[in-house]
């Protein structure tokens, strides 16, 4: 049985990695996936391919699975309020169905 969930995606600057991770954990999410990304947005091309001596132009993408919309919204509001005035960022949410995942579904599976 697949378990319905919300997938929250946060794309922002790499220097916020630890701070966003903290917000996600404090909101009570069981975990998150984070990867380095690049792309183009309203704040110029932010890439991961160009030569770079510092991490300031690298983006990260968080994916968080939450049980309900409320928790996802809480994380999104908190991150946006705290950072999106000064830092690049976008947040979106999709419906997801979790098929396997111990920590998310419980010991007996989804």
């Amino acid at each position: 049985m697949a378990k319905p969930a919300k997938k929250l995606v946060i794309i922002s600057e790499k220097i916020l990695l630890k701070k966003i991770a903290q917000i996600i954990e404090e909101a009570g999410a069981t975990g998150y996936t984070v990867m380095e990304t690049g792309g183009k947005g309203s704040r110029n091309v932010r890439s991961s391919g160009q030569p770079s001596v510092s991490d300031t132009t690298v983006n990260v993408k968080f994916e968080v699975l939450t049980h309900d919309r409320i928790m996802a919204q809480k994380i999104a509001d908190h991150v946006a309020e705290k950072f999106f005035l000064d830092y690049a960022g976008i947040i979106y949410m999709c419906d997801a169905e979790v098929l396997y995942g111990h920590s998310f579904c419980g010991p007996e599976g989804c």
Partner: protein, 375 residues
């Protein structure tokens, strides 16, 4: 005349040196649209190795030398680091189209030290057989941290003052305009005036005091400084001579050339961003390295006459003052002054400040020291 000919000779020598030629090569191939990529992880390991080597050299030197000699140059480094931020506050920030916060961040970045520029200066001194205190590299944190802390503290104080003024103003406007809004029956508008303003007002209630320790901690935890301080500690307390001689020292120059290539490529890619901000940044980032370096050179000469600080050491002090941070400074400032425009300060530093410091300031201060030493 001597100074000019020394400078020109050094400049030509410096142009052909691996350090500068690779930097220029990097700028050229980036301008040419080359697809060459040096993986970021390699750049990270190079930075680690260069700064660990400088730290190790310093640590071993400190173990064998008299620490009291270091007090005056270290105090001057702190002074220069703080001074550079205030110079930017009262020159760059006053120029048209330059925002005060951007100017402060630029000042902080130019006050902070570039490990690669320092490594280039040390290589240049060694190539010309000019003696300098091996612990001179250890002056790095004494200039880097005060500059970053000062920039962030001054920027936050400025920001708080602005907010207070704004608040006073909006309170006055609100009292004037409350009547018609209440009559207009738009309750939604009152609770959500607009998202941007809402964020601002929410932020207003939080950070009103600047905490200094987190800034210091952040710069100490940065990749450049922590590598250097680790090297320093290992040089001081352990016996790392064998790895130093067999690994860190021989690889130093080769790795520096690769880093310079990357810096050249990055300088070119940042130049585009710099075009979008006020042109005064270009003027500042050409003039500032010389002004900062000369101030440090002057103070270094005082130490030279007072405590016998070597002329080579004076050059190192001048070059670290002339340099602007490219590696660990930008993330610290980005976190510390989030509302400053990174295109302005990182562009000014990486695209122009660093090439000027390496290409022009190193030969200039070398020439100056040689002229003074000969006279």
């Amino acid at each position: 005349m001597d100074l000019l000919s020394n400078f020109l000779m050094d400049f030509i020598k410096q142009l052909q040196s691996p350090t500068l030629s690779f930097l220029i090569g990097g700028i050229f191939i980036a301008a040419f649209g080359s697809q060459l990529q040096i993986p970021e992880s390699i750049v990270k390991i190079i930075i680690f190795m260069l700064l660990t080597k400088i730290g190790l050299t310093g640590g071993i030197a400190i173990r064998n030398s008299n620490l009291t000699e270091m007090i005056l140059p270290a105090a001057f480094s702190v002074l220069v680091g703080i001074l550079i931020v205030f110079i930017a506050r009262y020159t760059l920030a006053k120029l048209p189209k330059v925002k005060t916060l951007d100017a402060l961040a630029t000042g902080g970045l130019f006050g902070a030290v570039s490990g690669s520029t320092m490594a280039a200066a040390i290589t240049a001194l060694e190539e010309q057989n000019i003696k300098f205190e091996a612990w001179a590299g250890a002056l790095y944190p004494f200039m880097d941290i005060p500059a970053l802390v000062t920039a962030i503290v001054v920027a936050n104080v400025y920001l708080n003052n602005m907010k207070r003024k704004e608040q006073a103003q909006s309170a006055m406007q609100e009292s004037l305009s409350r009547q018609p809004v209440a009559a207009g029956d738009y309750p939604d508008q009152q609770s959500y005036p607009s998202t941007r303003q809402e964020y601002l007002s929410r932020q207003r209630s939080v950070d009103s005091r600047v905490k200094i320790w987190p800034i210091v901690q952040e710069s100490l935890q940065g990749p450049a400084l922590s590598a250097m301080l680790l090297g320093l500690a290992l040089g001081l307390f352990a016996r790392p001579e064998s790895v130093y001689k067999g690994f860190y020292d021989p690889a130093f120059r080769g790795l520096l050339s690769i880093l310079m290539l990357v810096m050249g490529m990055e300088a070119w890619s940042r130049l585009n961003e710099l075009r979008k901000v006020a042109h005064w940044y270009v003027v500042y980032s050409v003039v500032a390295p010389f002004v900062h370096g000369l101030i440090a050179f002057g103070l270094g000469m005082i130490a030279h006459y007072a405590t016998g600080f070597s002329l080579g050491g004076v050059v190192v002090l001048a070059v670290i003052a002339a340099s602007s941070s490219d590696i660990s400074g930008p993330p610290t400032l980005r976190a510390g002054i989030p509302s400053a425009n990174p295109s302005a300060y990182i562009g000014a530093s990486t695209a122009i400040g660093t090439p000027v410091a390496i290409g022009l300031c190193i030969p200039f201060f070398l020439g100056l020291a040689q002229t003074l030493g000969a006279g």
